[in-house]
């Protein structure tokens, strides 16, 4: 899944292996220019083939599905009716669209902000090596290593209304039972909590390595100038971490927008559709009922791609502005 961010360098290496041997020097410069051009194409070919097969074709298929009215019959026999943007109108005009979009935004924004804040706090905490810090840091990676089905099921057991450990603890303090997964007001919060827990290691690792690149001397200089720990963080750490932060947040956003598994395992988007995000909705249309409905599912998937793209361009825009200044 995360190949995409690396695809360019990888494919370049692959091209190198398959490329032609460097041509012998030729008397005329123009000829040499042409042959290096061919070599360049040869180097490029594996990358292009890879992109076409694994990105362009699925994307084309997804758009194709969303522009036709595919039923199970036309999925097998072909001849789905071309309906233009009707699927998009149906989805965006549907009563479920507003709440799903709102849930998606709340889920995504709250998740990545909290993941980032907690991840950064932990990264700064672990920056000063102390005894057992390596072990502790390693333990924080556990959520990342566990299969999602395991952590999702564990969370849903812990948050069970009647037998869950979370409610048992709350009751011990006299707070009383909260129906984490079955109360329409709590379901979204519950899946956000679980998702934040899942995303902290990713933020911790990237931000921690970002911190290693900030030269120690800057802190020494700041300390000499009389800056306290708080000022050092806001004046030195945070600004110098900005590029790393930006890419962490962007990747976090893309990962979080498409989260299906955690929500599906914990609440299946319910009760009703109170914790249904766009991704869960898309999954439910395609695989969650007895009748696969690929066209609306693909339509919602395409809308998600557009949202992710919009944030991607926002990121590029901010980067460019920073470079100019």
């Amino acid at each position: 899944m995360n190949m995409s961010t690396k695809s360019a360098p990888q494919a370049r290496e692959a091209g190198g292996a398959a490329g032609e041997p460097p041509s012998a020097p030729r008397p005329r410069i123009r000829v040499r220019g042409r042959s290096t051009q061919w070599a360049a194409f040869a180097f490029l070919a594996p990358l292009v083939a890879y992109l076409l097969a694994f990105y362009a074709y699925p994307l084309y298929r997804n758009i194709d599905l969303s522009l036709h009215d595919y039923t199970v019959r036309s999925f097998v026999q072909g001849g789905a009716e071309f309906t233009g943007l009707a699927n998009y109108r149906d989805i965006m005009g549907s009563e479920a669209f507003g709440p799903a979009l709102r849930n998606t935004l709340v889920f995504t924004l709250v998740s990545i902000v909290a993941q980032y804040a907690i991840g950064l706090a932990l990264a700064v905490f672990f920056r000063d090596n102390f005894r057992l810090s390596g072990v502790l840091r390693g333990m924080f990676l556990v959520p990342w290593l566990l299969p999602l089905i395991v952590s999702g099921s564990t969370w849903s057991w812990m948050m069970n209304s009647d037998n869950g450990i979370v409610n048992a603890a709350l009751e011990a303090f006299g707070i009383g039972q909260i129906n984490w997964l079955t109360d329409p007001g709590w379901a979204l919060t519950s899946v956000i909590i679980a998702n934040i827990w899942l995303g902290i290691p990713f933020n911790l690792v990237i931000l921690y390595s970002g911190l290693q690149n900030i030269p120690r001397e800057l802190y020494e200089a700041a300390a000499l100038d009389g800056a306290n720990a708080w000022q050092q963080f806001w004046r030195v750490t945070f600004p110098l971490l900005r590029p790393v932060s930006a890419i962490t947040l962007l990747l976090g956003l893309v990962y979080t927008l498409k989260v299906v598994d955690v929500i599906w395992i914990m609440t299946t988007g319910g009760p009703g559709s109170t914790s249904t995000t766009l991704a869960v909705w898309s999954y439910r249309e395609a695989f969650g009922t007895g009748l696969p409905d690929f066209s609306p599912a693909a339509t919602i998937g395409n809308l998600l791609i557009l949202i992710a793209l919009a944030f991607g361009f926002l990121y590029l825009h901010l980067q460019r502005r920073q470079e100019r200044s």
Partner: protein, 419 residues
Amino acid sequence: MRDLPKPFRAAGVLGAALVLMTGAVACSSNTGSGGGDQADDTYTWWDPYPQHNKSSDWAKRVTKCGDEAGVTIKRTAYDTTALTNQALLAAQEGTSPDIILLDNPAVSTLADTGMLTTMEEFGLDTSEIDENLLAAGVADGKEYGIPIGANTLAIYYNKTVLDDAGVDPGSVKDWASLTAALKKVKDAGHKGITFAGIGTEEGSFQFLPWFWGAGADLRDLDSAEAAEALDLWTGWLKNGYAPNSVINNSQNTTWEEFLTGDFAFGVNGTWQVNSAAEADFPTGVIQIPGKDGGVAPTPTGGEFLTTPVQDDTGRYEATKKIVECMTTPEGMVETATTFAYYIPPTKAGQDKLLADQAELEPWVEAVRTAKGRTSDDLGTDYPKISEPLWTAVQQALSGSKSTKDALGEAQATAEDEVG
């Protein structure tokens, strides 16, 4: 990222966005693999029993039926929902397997694609099979499969809890007496009943006995009868007779709750018979009552043997032999005992099973009164009705909508979907 030249950065961002779609539609690309290009004497068989591996009794039976037909069977097991999607993809690619064992509500959906042959074309006799069980495989008056066995829902009870609360399971005759029993149990300090109200097909499956037991019709979700059924469930929740967790319970979770020994009743299926026998407390089974008494029609579960269309119709001959081998009365009983949760779909098979295991009597009874979810000529409309139904159940149980509003909305959605 920062050090890369601009075009690569743009490619990276684009790529990251595109990752989304791989998840959304990965299954719609060409991953099908099937039997179309198999060797002549290798027949492909798909079933939804990944829990039975190569050395299991089930796999051996399948192999044996292949041997008797003089061919080799290559068996592949998928998860139930994955199986429907795999079958669709294989049909799209023209590589359907020779035999698919299909969950019964999926039969009419796949039949609608034209990828299944009818039993009549195959010359298979279905007259022995109980009509109510066969109905799930019938679309437009044609039979598209043979049930290899059936299962359904009933109420398990915990004898220890009932004795303690002074409730006689035999006294549960209708909804009022069931609710009265729940009150007694609760007053005695125990938990009442647990069931599965999850927002998937399982939720509809568990709600249907009450829905039908009230006399409601799936074409009419907002009827007064439907509201009575939903009010029964929400009333149990409000009064604390059922735990709040039922809203999110799958049938497995609800069974685990019942096995804790705290609950007096648990609604579950034939497939828990063995587990109930091994429970730490004595258990028993009663039928789900109708609103004003009698036995409520419960939905049938279980798989159908279906035979997808092949380019090479010469293959049908051996396929027919395999199907016949699996569906003889002896074969049906063998299937029932292999799985421990199937009741044979024929009278002969049922009698044979009861001769061996008389304690399965209530289940045979339940299966005889059971009703296919896609029957009443609902066919492919059923999934379109089931989704709004379970959504309404969820909304009413969680209190986000009143029973009336939830069902009214469900009916509007269903009408819109069915068209």
